[in-house]
Amino acid sequence: MVLSKKQKYVFLTFCLLPTFIVFCIFTVYPMIGGLYYSFFDWSGTSSVKEFIGLGNYQKLLSDSVIPKAIVNDYIFVFVKVFGIMILALFFAVALTQLRLKEAPFYRIVFFFPNIMSVVVIGILWQFIYDPNIGIVNGILRTMGLEEWTRPWLGDMTWALPSIAVPAIWAGIGLFMLLLMGGITDIPKNLYEAAEIDGASEWQQFWRITVPLIWPQIKTSIIYIVITSLNGSFVLVQVMTAGGPGIATEVLGSYLYQKAFEDFKFGYGAAIGVLILVASLLTVIVLQFLLKKEKVEY
């Protein structure tokens, strides 16, 4: 394009500036503000905003809910990564390798929960677990396993796994499709050659499929970890609000309760910073752990 310098900069300003301004106001400022507020003791009314330095962070260290919430956050991460990856990988291999006629049906069905609202998923599963009208206890009763029935979400030990199940339920489809994309790109002759060399299907899976779709596996794991650390509290807040007691509390739901229910905004902001630090550190560690030479045949 032949534009004078001035015209070019006017055009660039037109393209970039308005967007950048709203982005700074509604995305950058709140994030920096989150850091800033974490140094104050503040109940929301501006008259009693007191600078307390690292006071909120000291309080984080002595708050007994925090370690529990961190552990729960990482339990979710592990359960989701393993649950989703194992099932998604199995389904992806099944749907690509064995040319099933009804494959499109499974793809459409498995993906659908990915686009459902977390609130709807949370409420729906709350009723699936309902002690009286729920499906889970209903199935157990018809199978004669009356003693296994329990109020799943009200049970100190079972509440957390009960929330992890819908998280996996809602997550599989996307990652299955992601992995399927990788598998269909693997040249067919690699499998033919392996077959001739007498490699079993299991060996083919570990020696050919897994190494060649490693980039997709890695992306999926990192994506699951980030979205879980930054977002699994929505399901928690909808289904149990952290209860019973603090059995299912995670950092995000605790932040919401502290800030918007107890009006301890400074402390809430400090929890937000903790979530930021945790998720950035986790991603760095993951990048390092999942580093693996790229395989090419």
């Binding site: 394009m1 070019k8 503000g33 989150g34 659908f112 686009i115 709807v120 009208i133 990652f175 929505v234």
Partner: protein
């Protein structure tokens, strides 16, 4: 050999069928429950309703504010998606096609902001809107939704704009078209499918959004579906109005199902590409 094939096909199909059942059954249960009376729900969670009546839907829609919330959700979804495009298209074009100092820095600022948990910004955002007197305002909520998806939309649009041949722009320049004309009359129509993909994904997230709406909206008349559903759930618990609750869930899900059946390809492509980023 044939028998082995059939058997292994069966062995693979069983888990696939079980998972299909696990996905479909809760949804089916929800739809059937929406047509049942409370007595029927308690009598047997499995049975079909004696007759299909729409009373639960009417009750949810009028008495429990789901109707208002539905309209509000439509509003923020439409306005949010539109604003997001208005902000993202020019920026994506400038970042993809123009050479200037700071190009990389701006792009990386947008992209890296996607890594930062949005929870961190909620408290300042709440007070910012409080100061601007914009709490409980659906226009403000739409704007915030739009801004929150600018980086993702820019990211999708840039990948589509990369495929627009530069010769077209050069030819248009020779014909005397200015940069604004090229952007809006040449490039924008050519990246239509990128715009559709990004917009569908944005619209689904805005439709489903819950937490920002919970924090930033206050009156019941302003609630969007997520918040209204949560409220309906709490009320349904006290009043045991399960059928109404199921009907409300259906109202929230049906537009997504329609969207999914029409735009399935776009949704799948956009989401898998978005994850790869």
């Amino acid at each position: 050999m044939n028998i082995i094939r059939t058997l292994s096909g069966l062995a693979v199909r069983i888990p696939l069928l079980i998972w299909s059942f696990i996905v479909i059954f809760p949804l089916l249960w929800m739809f059937i429950g929406a047509f049942k009376t409370n007595a029927e729900i308690f009598a047997s969670p499995w049975a079909l309703p004696e007759k299909f009546n729409f009373q639960n839907f009417l009750t949810a829609w009028t008495d429990y504010n789901i109707g208002t919330a539905f309209v509000n959700s439509m509003f923020v979804t439409a306005l949010g998606s539109l604003l997001c495009l208005v902000f993202s298209i020019p920026t994506a074009y400038a970042l993809e096609r123009m050479r200037f100092k700071g190009n990389e820095i701006i792009l990386n600022t947008y992209l890296s902001s996607m890594m930062i948990p949005s929870v961190l910004g909620w408290i300042p955002l709440f007070f910012l809107l409080l100061k601007l007197n914009l709490l409980d305002n659906l226009w403000a909520l739409s704007l915030i939704y739009a801004v929150s998806h600018i980086p993702f939309t820019i990211f999708i649009l840039i990948s589509f704009m990369g495929n627009v041949p530069k010769e077209l722009e050069e030819a248009a320049t020779i014909d005397g078209m200015g940069p604004y004309g090229i952007l809006f009359k040449i490039v924008t129509p050519l990246v239509k499918s990128g715009i559709i993909t990004a917009t569908i994904l944005n619209a689904i997230s805005f439709w489903n959004e819950y937490f920002l709406a919970l924090i930033l909206l206050q009156q019941e008349s302003k609630n969007t579906l997520g918040v209204a559903m949560d409220l309906l759930k709490t009320n349904a618990k006290y009043e045991s109005a399960w059928g109404v609750l199921f009907a409300g869930l259906c109202i929230a899900v049906i537009p997504v199902i329609i969207f999914y059946s029409v735009f399935q390809r776009h949704i799948v492509k956009g989401m898998t590409e978005g994850a790869i980023k």
